[in-house]
Amino acid sequence: MATALPTRTATRCFRTTRPRTCNQHIHSRRAFHSYDHPPPPGPFGATETLILSAAYKHVPEHGFTHRALSLGACDAGLLDISPSALPDGAFSLIRYHLYTQRLALAAKSSHIFQGEDAPVGVGAKVTALTWERLMANREVIHQWQEALAVMAQPSHAPASLKELAMLSDEIWYLAGDTAVDPSWYTKRATLSMIYSSSELFMTNDHSPDYVETNKFLKRRLGEVQSVGGALGAIGQWVGFTASAGINVLRSKGARI
């Protein structure tokens, strides 16, 4: 264990027990937030990162695809064959998006929380951060339904859900929520559902600046408060997300 790291964590910080000689970058994923120490390096290897970051630039045009990966590999001075080192193929590129955009929230939050009309209170901050994260999908939103279909594949669903959980955790953390009580889980679960249904909504939203998505998000978050807590909303959200999600997937040819 990484015992040397002093932790005063609101939640447990999982670390792996691998030898630290090599591949540190691979294994030190943190599952949940630690309030004290800086985030460990990401889950991608050096050359992997090189490929993914270059390929990411091709996503708006080519989607989260092998083609984007191979174009990226060539941009980075590597070979056509190089992306075959990536264990999950095109899904790696999706994970890269989820991962980098989640991490980018921290830097953005300091901007959002400064200035005249900075949100006050945990609720308003959660709303602002969730919106910010949704807007980080802007460039790729037209490719996102395909990505959701890939994420829903049985072999990728666990990793996708985990990323979603970590995003919720990040948002609550950045919003300054330090409560460690039974509502911890419901808060995260509820936000996960609200986020993913808003994201789905956004893939079909053609309004300028996604105003409809913005309204959708605010309604959902508002309902959670008015229904009297997160719990009441969960049933509703499961229903909505599941049916909307399934429809999208069906439209992509998933056999469900």
Binding site: N23, D80, I81, S82
Partner: protein, 302 residues
């Protein structure tokens, strides 16, 4: 490894004539100097050169079939699927733009199993015939099997293949530094005396960005129950079946033991990294609960 002591025949046909003739022992490495001229396979018979070649080829085919049988036993019958999957994830021949050249070396690839799949993938699936594929093996008898089998391929695929007798631990200088896109080794590396040397060589010959890909029997330790059952199966049943099916208990015993000695997925991944490769994600992928695993490394830029 002392495979040399007690060499047995892998093929019944041979055994019938001269039971002690040192032919290729399936799954073993150390038959370095296989000299066709010295063979006494056909006993005191004097047969025309041409006919002998034919018979020799027949024998090799039997050896290769014996390999297949072993693979079937060890893999619970699914090694062909693993090989298909192994090749499809590498997707040789897929280039942007289409039809760019690729240079591939299949090490310990005597029987051509992996090589032929890669050619199919490149030619047929990706419409890219611009592939240079070298099949190398330390054992010329195995290479001969590959050569024979390759005759069944379409001519344009045959013309992409060359054969090379070489020890993976010291590849000849004809395979130049930084010259390959892809290096594959399937069910071979376990047999190498010095795996680290072979990994270094792989690193030497690959271009920056080139891929080292290895398919090998591995460890199912993650699932204790499955592990127990599989070990029981492999240590007691397989040598016995080997005895019954191929009349060759020792080879099968060797096979099972060599798998047991092979490093775990993580240890082997770390060896790949030590040799200078980068890995993505965990660096390996388990197949069928870890009975086999695919390891991939990428040679970094610089």
């Amino acid at each position: 490894m002392n495979a040399r002591s007690g060499l047995r025949l892998g093929a019944r046909a041979l055994r019938a004539s001269t039971p002690r003739a040192p032919v290729a022992r399936p799954f073993s490495t150390t038959i370095p100097q296989y000299d066709q001229g010295k063979h006494t396979h056909f006993g005191y018979e004097t047969i025309p050169e041409a006919e002998k070649q034919g018979r020799v080829a027949g024998v090799f085919t039997n050896v290769a079939e014996s390999y297949d049988k072993m693979n079937d036993l060890m893999s619970l019958g699914v090694h062909r699927l693993w090989k298909d999957y192994f090749v499809s994830t590498l997707n040789p021949g897929a280039t942007t733009p289409l039809g760019q050249p690729q240079k591939i070396l299949d090490v310990a690839g005597g029987t051509g199993d992996i090589a032929f799949r890669m050619l199919h993938n490149a030619h047929v699936l990706n419409g890219n015939p611009n592939i240079e594929l070298t099949i190398s093996d330390i054992n010329p008898a195995m290479l001969e099997v590959g050569r024979q089998r390759s005759l069944a391929l379409p001519a344009e695929q045959q013309s992409c293949i060359s054969f090379l007798e070489a020890n993976a631990e010291t590849l000849p200088s004809s395979i130049q530094d930084n010259s390959l896109d892809l290096y594959t080794v399937a069910f071979g590396i376990r047999n190498f005396t010095n795996m680290r040397a072979a990994l270094k060589e792989a690193h030497r010959v690959l271009k920056p960005g080139g891929i080292f890909a290895c398919l090998e029997f591995s460890k199912v330790d993650r699932f204790p129950l499955f592990n127990a059952v599989y070990k029981q199966w492999s240590f007691s049943a397989i040598p016995l079946i080997g005895q019954l099916v191929a009349g060759d208990r020792d080879s099968y015993q060797y096979l099972v033991e060599s798998i047991e000695r092979f490093p775990t997925q993580v240890e082997f991944r770390d060896m790949i990294v030590e040799a200078g490769f980068d890995v993505a994600g965990e660096g390996y992928e388990n197949l069928t609960g870890g009975i086999a695993a695919i390891h991939r490394g990428i040679k970094p830029l610089r």
